[in-house]
């Protein structure tokens, strides 16, 4: 059957390999074997391979539109009752996600050429981005949980390496550590669920798992644990509460990687959760947890974002917040809604981070309190910011407006509280975007922003093209509407969404920025500011609880090891030495007594043996 398929589909396994081979090809420059002509060739190679990946992906989309969804698999490892496959599901959703991922990667790599212009180890950056892209492309296409897990872990590793790109800086060291460990906690829990599923269901193909779930007879406890394990991995990947800590710290990494992380990587994590969604029916607890986590992340993320003074961190909390909404949609079994939100958010957030990156590249500053007056100096960046902000809020008819309208309309009937969560998130996000806009682009110029020209074309080009794409998103949504089937939502829902956005924008316009920055003298408000600015003290809570617990346990084990186990051994040793010293003095030196002792011992030994046998 496979032979009758068109060539682009047969060669689908190449798509993840483009990214990985980009990494391998960059190694000679990254490791300094080739020093002539600088590291640029590695960047060009990666760009070329990513371009090929985008084109290959679009070819496959054309074929799939003609032939319908396809499934390809390659055996990887087989032993006993275990059969692990490399499988690709070529459905339109997966392919659209693939195009999002590869296209974003392409834009980011062009952007990075400008942003990291003077970076010493540019080749290493491109090698890591290639690795990143390969893993993401594989995750979105994979047709089984094993391969998804495999690549998600690779994503964890490459996140660690990308966050730790400037490894000599102290903040980067902790950021890379937290990024890895937080995700790893989620991954280990996911692995537990994966191993259990593999043992119970036999196959790890998503389609087989969906069939298995219909007939599965699981006791409530294993089912609940399974469900919780399955959502833990995506929770870590999507930086959801309480595993959201790493995303804002990860902003210490280079900005082009942050663009990818806030748009494409979180999308990958959510897509895995989407593919697992039918399995969650097993466990009502997991669904409830998903709802709670989504709500807390959506509102908490939006609130914490408002209190941040770091340009990148404030928007990274926004990512946590939007992914919380995606989690809500998934918990309520609305896959298409979740997908649309992922796409709309991914595009707009990437644009936002490009604009922010331009600001940082020009001013070498990402502290909101030191920025101002860039609006007239950097027109393209300002436009990009405005377009991205419009795309993110439910006020103008760009991407997220349709998602919010759809969400509010569907949630209103059954879950009015959740509709409220969506609206409140919209308000808070709009407020935050306006606040930052006023501060960075409208405020009077500060010393660091006085001489700030527009960015070079390598950064401007991807930024402007993405801005156009975001502006065109209503048209795209219209094109794919037959596939999504967005219900036409009522006027009242529209009014609610627009109203909530307007409230956010208005309060954002009206709020006193100068007074806002200085800590409020009104004590409760000051404490609230601190609470949000320090992210609900999550880091301190972790330090005081789980980190202290593990460290204490480790110290305890170590002291048991040193004092008890090793001490016992040493004491036996010294006791035998001491007894030998003592015995040495008690020896008479008479041969006869030695012989007597020997004979007596032999008799006793023989007697005891005879007694044992008899």
């Amino acid at each position: 059957m496979a032979h009758s398929l068109p060539l682009p589909i047969q060669l689908v396994w190449l798509i993840p390999l483009y990214g990985f081979s980009g990494m391998v090809l960059s190694l000679p420059w990254a490791s300094g074997w080739i020093k002539r002509n600088g590291p640029r060739p590695a960047a060009y190679l990666n760009l070329l391979l990513t371009l090929v990946a985008v084109l290959h992906g679009s070819l496959i989309i054309r074929e799939v539109l003609a032939l319908g969804p396809q499934h390809l698999e390659i055996p990887w490892f087989q032993a006993g009752d275990l059969d692990l496959l490399i499988g690709f599901d070529l459905s339109l959703t997966n392919l659209a996600a693939l195009e999002l991922v590869t296209f974003m990667s392409l834009l980011c790599q062009v952007f990075a050429l400008g942003y990291l212009d003077k970076e010493w180890s540019l080749a290493r950056f491109y090698a890591l981005v290639g690795f990143f892209e390969g893993a993401m492309a594989g995750v979105v296409l994979s047709s089984n949980l094993f391969m998804s897990y495999f690549l998600l872990e690779m994503l964890t590793l490459s996140t660690y390496l990308l966050v730790g790109f400037w490894y000599a800086q102290p903040l980067v060291v902790t950021a890379a550590r937290d990024a890895f460990l937080t995700k790893r906690v989620g991954d280990v829990l996911l692995l537990m669920a994966l191993v259990a599923l593999s043992s119970w269901a036999g196959s790890l193909e998503f389609s087989d798992l969906y069939r298995w779930i219909d007939t599965a007879q699981l006791a409530p406890l294993p089912a609940t644990l399974l469900g919780l394990g399955l959502i833990a991995g995506p929770m870590g990947k999507c930086a959801q509460f309480p595993m959201h800590l790493w995303l804002d710290e990860a902003m210490e990494g280079p900005n082009p990687a942050s663009i990818l992380r806030n748009s494409a990587v979180v999308t990958c994590g959510a897509l895995v959760l989407l593919k697992l969604m039918p399995l969650l029916r097993l466990s009502p607890v997991a669904i409830d947890v998903l709802l709670v986590v989504g709500t807390i992340s959506a509102l908490g993320g939006a609130l914490v974002a408002i209190a941040q003074v770091d340009l990148k961190r404030t928007f990274s909390y926004g990512t946590t917040s939007y992914l919380g909404l995606v989690f809500l949609a998934i918990a309520l079994q609305k896959p298409l809604l979740a997908l649309l939100l992922l796409f709309a958010h991914g595009l707009a957030k990437a644009l936002l981070f490009m604009s922010v990156g331009s600001v940082i590249a020009t001013t070498n500053c990402q502290d909101l309190t030191e920025l101002g007056g860039l609006g007239s100096r950097m027109p393209a960046t300002t436009t990009a910011y405005l377009v991205a902000a419009a795309g993110l809020t439910g006020l103008f008819p760009l991407g997220c407006f349709w998602c919010f309208g759809w969400m509010v309309d569907t949630f209103r009937a059954g879950h009015p509280m959740l509709a409220g969560v969506v609206l409140l998130t919209n308000t808070l996000t709009a407020f935050n975007l306006v606040r930052v806009f006023r501060k960075v682009f409208l405020d009077k110029p500060h010393p660091k922003t006085r001489r700030s020209p527009e960015v070079n074309w390598l950064m401007a080009l991807p930024m402007v093209s993405l801005a156009v794409l975001v502006l065109l998103s209503p048209l795209v949504i219209e094109r794919i509407d037959p596939f999504l089937a967005i219900p036409s939502f009522s006027t009242s829902s529209t009014m609610l969404v627009v109203g909530s956005g307007l409230v956010g924008v208005l309060t954002g316009c009206l709020v006193q920025l100068d007074a806002f920055w200085s800590r409020s003298l009104f004590r409760p408000l000051g404490m609230l500011q601190d609470l949000l600015a320090y992210d609900f003290y999550t880091e301190r809570i972790y330090k005081a609880t789980i980190v202290a617990f593990v460290a204490g346990l480790a110290r305890l084990t170590n002291s048991v090891d040193r004092v008890l186990v090793n001490g016992l051994v040493n004491r036996i040793g010294s006791a035998s030495l001491a007894s030998a010293e003592g015995l040495k003095l008690g020896v008479s030196g008479q041969l006869q007594s030695y012989v007597l002792t020997l004979v007596a011992a032999i008799i006793m030994l023989l007697a005891s043996l005879a007694w044992l046998k008899g």
């Binding site: 490892f77 006993g80 275990l82 010493w120 180890s121 964890t156 084990t557 090891d561 051994v569």
Partner: protein, 509 residues
């Protein structure tokens, strides 16, 4: 055919020991490397002749030696021992290649290395209990000498501790083998599984426990592990490679071959306890590793943790878990050898392994960037990141065991998660940050050295580590090769208890 695997290294050792005059150390190293390369080539030849679809022993060499006491010279190979023989060949070669500028008694050093390699081959190939024991003991004294002559400052303590522990292990194993003869009243030391008709369950349990403790010391399992960190920290890095990569595998090999293979019925009885023991061992090793400051000690404790997983796999004794045990032996051998090599490079260049002292070694111009890169790869492999050998091994172990011992498996997975914690701390402390070497002192700001410039690492120094890294990645990406070699044997071993049960009830007709 298999006898050559013993003959080549032993002959090499004799040539070295008996060579007239006093050849320069370089030539002795060349002789040793040539011999070991020959041995590796011959093991590859054995690999070609090996038929992976047969479950039992193959390519047997047999010779009656001392029939009165049941000591036969019988060698055979199967899917369990073949990967280990290959790894022994490769890693001994690596440790000989890594031994440079040895000034003290090179002749004895290389001869002992060859002797160990041959003895380990013999232990993996022996098809007779007494023969196994002979080789098991034969490897012990050379290693003791390697630690106590070429070791660090506290080598006498570490070497003696190693000797006493391992000697007790040997005594227990010999006791069990002799006890077998005593209880059954025959001098049959072949590898036939013992069924309850031949021996009562009580006696089987006594013998099994004695064997378990014997091999448990060698693996090592908590609480018999305390010789390992000391031995590793005092041994030179080639010896550490050998110890972690090859010699510890004797313990797990014995666990599978003699405990599970000889007493399948008694094994099934104690398996739940063994699973708990495994979980304790894994968690204990991982937690103790977190608290270590010495990189080598940390890697040594991680060995305790990772070897515990093999006990879990053996306790579960399903086809997948036993295959996982073989995988874990190979991948632990490769990964820990890699880590010890890299720590050795760091120690040679900086003079310390203390995590409180070292900072920022990844520095591209003045530090050890390439060693650091390989180190990141090594620790990630050890932490079980996919794409490298550690992941597929642990996955197979967990997947094979979870159906039998869910709780113990979950605890072991927790331990595997802790691996990421301590190894990440290692990389973060020693390799990230601003480069500095800060010896512990009253006034760190004054004594810290920020202006260090470490001498560059030549390619030939990292070449062995690079080779092992490629093997680690290769095994992680294409595990099917090793699976193909060992699957039939693992399945046969897993089905042993059921087969025996059926046979004793006449089910096989």
């Amino acid at each position: 055919m298999l006898s050559l695997l013993l003959l080549i290294p032993f002959l090499g050792a004799f040539v070295l020991l008996l060579s007239p005059s006093n050849p320069p150390p370089g030539r002795m190293r060349a002789i040793a490397i040539t011999t070991l390369a020959l041995q590796l080539l011959w093991s590859l030849r054995v690999l070609l002749a090996f038929d992976p679809h047969q479950g039992g022993m193959q390519l047997q060499d047999s010779l009656s030696w001392v029939p009165m006491i049941g000591l036969d010279y019988r060698l055979g190979i199967d899917g369990l021992s073949l990967p280990l023989v290959l790894m022994n060949g490769a890693l001994t070669l690596v440790s000989a290649v890594c031994t440079r500028d040895i000034s003290q008694r090179p002749r004895i050093y290389f001869a002992l290395l060859l002797l160990i390699s041959g003895a380990v081959n013999g232990a993996f190939l022996a098809e007779n209990l007494l023969l196994f024991f002979l080789f098991y003991e034969l490897e012990l004294i050379p290693l003791w000498l390697l630690i106590s002559i070429w070791g660090g400052t506290e080598r006498a303590y570490a070497a003696t501790k190693f000797l006493i522990f391992t000697a007790i292990s040997g005594v227990l194993i010999l006791g069990a083998f002799l006890g077998l003869a005593l209880f059954t009243g025959t001098v049959d030391f072949s590898l036939t599984p013992i069924v309850s008709e031949r021996l009562s369950m009580g006696s089987q349990l006594v013998l099994l426990v004695s064997l378990l403790i014997g091999f448990g010391i060698k693996i090592p399992l908590v609480p018999f592990h305390t010789w390992l960190p000391d031995a590793h920290t005092q041994a030179s890095s080639p010896v550490s490679v050998l110890l972690a990569g090859v010699l510890l595998k004797l313990g797990t090999y014995g666990l599978l071959r003699f405990c599970l293979g000889l007493f399948p019925q008694a094994w099934a009885l104690v398996a739940p306890w063994l699973a708990i023991w495994a979980a304790v061992s894994v968690l204990y090793g991982s937690l103790a590793a977190i608290a270590q400051r010495d990189m080598k000690r940390m890697v040594a404790y991680s060995s305790v943790g990772h070897m515990g997983m093999i006990l879990l796999a053996a306790a579960a004794a399903t086809p997948v878990s036993l295959l996982g045990a073989v995988f874990q032996m190979v991948s632990h051998g490769l990964i820990s050898a890699l880590l010890f090599l890299l720590v050795g490079i760091v120690y040679r260049k900086t003079g310390t392994r203390d995590l409180e002292v070292l900072r920022g070694l990844l520095n591209p111009e003045r530090g050890l960037p390439f060693t650091g890169t390989l180190m990141i790869l090594g620790v990630m492999a050890s932490a079980g990141l996919p794409g490298m050998a550690g992941f597929i091994s642990e996955f197979l172990v967990f997947r094979g065991s979870i159906g039998v011992f869910p709780l113990a498996t979950l605890l072991c997975m927790l331990g595997s998660g802790l691996t990421a914690v301590y190894f990440l701390l290692l990389v973060n402390r020693a390799y990230f940050g601003r480069m500095a070497i800060t010896p512990p002192s009253e006034d760190p700001s004054a004594d810290a050295r920020l202006d260090i410039r470490l001498s560059g690492v030549a390619l030939r120094e990292t070449l062995p580590a690079l080779g092992i890294s490629l093997a680690v990645v290769g095994l992680g990406l294409v595990p099917a090769g090793l699976g193909w070699l060992s699957e039939t044997t693992a399945t046969a071993m897993a089905e042993l208890p059921a087969l025996l049960l059926a046979a004793s009830h006449g089910g096989l007709g």
